[in-house]
Amino acid sequence: MNDISPTLTATSLTKIIGKKTIVDSVSFELQRGEIFGFLGPNGAGKTTTIRMLVGLIRPTAGHVTICGFDQRREFEQAMRCVGCIVENPDLYRFMTGRENLEHFARMLGVAMSEIPRVAELVSLSHRLEQRVGTYSLGMRQRLGIAQALLGDPKLLILDEPANGLDPAGIREIRELLRRLAEERGMSIFISSHLLAEIELTCDRVAIIHKGRILREGSVRELISSRREMELRVDDVGRAETIVRERNLSFRTDTDRIWVAIEEPDAPPLIAALVQSGVNVFHAQRRTQSLEDMFLEATGGESVD
């Protein structure tokens, strides 16, 4: 694989069960070293898409290419490049952490000496000899990630990796993922409903709703595409007229007006408002959060 070709390509993935279209022609690409966020409410088709990526579900149409290998025809080569957690980090509860890692190392043909290294990465070395049944959800999450890191995959697919972790744990895992992406050029696919988490961790994000991708782009791009300034004024009516004269888009509230405006154009607008007798109490730039964008894109249906 050369460095320019994408690590993961999903081409118009579709899953139809009976007459219901669960996933509708979903396409995206993951470049080397990129962290990609997959965002959507429950039942949006997130998990079905992930299951198609890793070969648990056969797509009705479309295909998946991993590291240049066709995931169906060259399953073994393709999956050798992937570490994943699908839905919950379900491991064998009746075996110890170490036995679980040994189990999956055997399937990969990876040396047992890898185990202390991956356990160290997720800070789980001290609990390896205990049965997984005694682990908390957060520890199972860590063990799941350790398992996914066995064999040095080029692509990591994690379903809700923040689940069950406390804030410190979330931060630790986020830093680990960023490090893996930056230092080793690992591509990471994360699905989540925690918008703030995606915003902090990911480079690029796709929003999926009712089986279709509504938006896709870099996190920065999606956020900065909707910059606006919030103004608190005493006379919203008159302010509106002035904004309209300048052909700017806006929305209003009882005492506030939000104007889509670039930074250099802000002072003249404020001056114009003041000149025409509108009192401006407060002016602030506001970047639209992923959450606003999500609500807008899905038409107000809540996440989760």
Binding site: R51, L56, V86, D90, L91, Y92, H103, M107, G109
Partner: protein, 324 residues
């Protein structure tokens, strides 16, 4: 490449303590039977075995004369009468319990229900438990083709079926040896009593040393258990819950046995795998429940069941979508 997978499956069965349960059940049952045999041995010391056997033969002949038994039972009784008569004619005491005879009898007694049931316990959750616990999502997203995963499971199951049979035999000997006479592996046995058109075919009777006879009986039983393992695998693939898989196995074993006993007229019943399962019994001389069930037919039937069950398992397992 398949060896590490077999190692994994073996570890899972051991860690789930399934084999420990099987060994414990075997031990408990064998200990109980040994105790009853031991008591019988003490009673026999004061008895005339010839008189006892003549009595049993007479009782069975009376029942037959009254004609109230159905054809299956009647055939079975006629065969038994012939066998006992043979022992009387040759002055051989057939029922004296010894440890080797106990081992030999175990193949017949445990073969048609107990051992298949234990294999059912071992096998029914080999796939369904991964389903129920959600571990299939990891198992099937590793760079190993699904058919290889299933093959490792089948081989592991066969290995444990073999181990179960061997531990049954070993336990039967070691538990009974302190209480019953230990020797007698070379004692003569008589097999091949068969009933053709109501009369006995004495010429078909073969005399074998007990150890050889035991090996043959266990060999047949082993083949039957491998078939049961294939069917358990299929149930495990079909059902998501282990309980449903084990339940179905139990129901088909018991249901099939009852069916062959109460409706011998329904001849299609001879194609059920349960009809052919007591291979060791048929070898000893117990007539199969339906006409036209030769030893070769039974072995072929079991083989066919095994192949069909395994094929369906592979088709379903390698193609199905794995949902949550």
């Amino acid at each position: 490449m398949i060896i590490p997978l077999i190692q994994n499956e073996t570890l899972k069965i051991l860690r789930r303590k399934r084999f420990a349960v099987v060994a414990a059940i075997l031990f408990a049952i064998i200990a109980l039977v040994t105790y009853s045999q031991y008591r019988r041995l003490n009673e026999l010391r004061n008895q005339n075995w010839r008189a006892e056997i003549q009595q049993r033969v007479a009782a069975m002949q009376n029942t037959l004369r009254r004609g109230r038994v159905n054809e299956t039972w009647a055939r079975s009784m006629r065969a038994e009468i012939n066998r006992l008569q043979f022992y009387l004619d040759h002055d051989i005491e057939p029922n004296k319990p010894t440890a080797p005879i106990f081992v030999r009898t175990f193949a017949n007694v445990a073969g048609f229900l107990l051992l298949p049931l234990l294999i059912g316990i071992l096998g029914s959750d080999i796939v369904s438990a991964e389903n129920a616990e959600g571990t299939d999502k990891l198992l099937l997203t590793r760079p190993v083709r699904r058919w290889k995963v299933l093959t490792a499971k089948l081989i592991t199951l066969w290995t444990f079926a073999t181990l179960t049979l061997m531990s049954g035999a070993a336990l039967a000997y070691t538990v009974s040896a302190p209480f019953l006479p230990r020797g007698g592996w070379a004692a003569p046995t008589f097999t091949g009593f068969s009933v053709a058109k109501g009369s006995i075919q004495i010429d078909a009777v073969r005399q074998l040393p007990l150890w050889k006879d035991t090996l043959i009986a266990y060999g047949l039983e082993w083949f039957a258990l491998l078939t049961v393992a294939c069917i358990a695998l299929l149930l495990s693939v079909l059902f998501k819950s282990s309980a449903a898989a084990i339940g179905t196995m139990l129901a088909s074993l018991i249901g099939g046995t009852i069916l062959t006993r109460i409706s011998p007229d329904w001849t299609a019943g001879k194609y059920l795998f349960v009809s052919a399962l007591p291979l060791a019994d048929y070898y000893t001389g117990e007539p199969p429940p339906y006409d036209g069930m030769s030893m070769l037919f039974c072995i072929g039937l079991l083989g066919a069941w095994a192949i069909v069950a395994t094929t369906i398992s592979y088709i379903i397992f390698t193609r199905r979508d794995v949902f949550g």
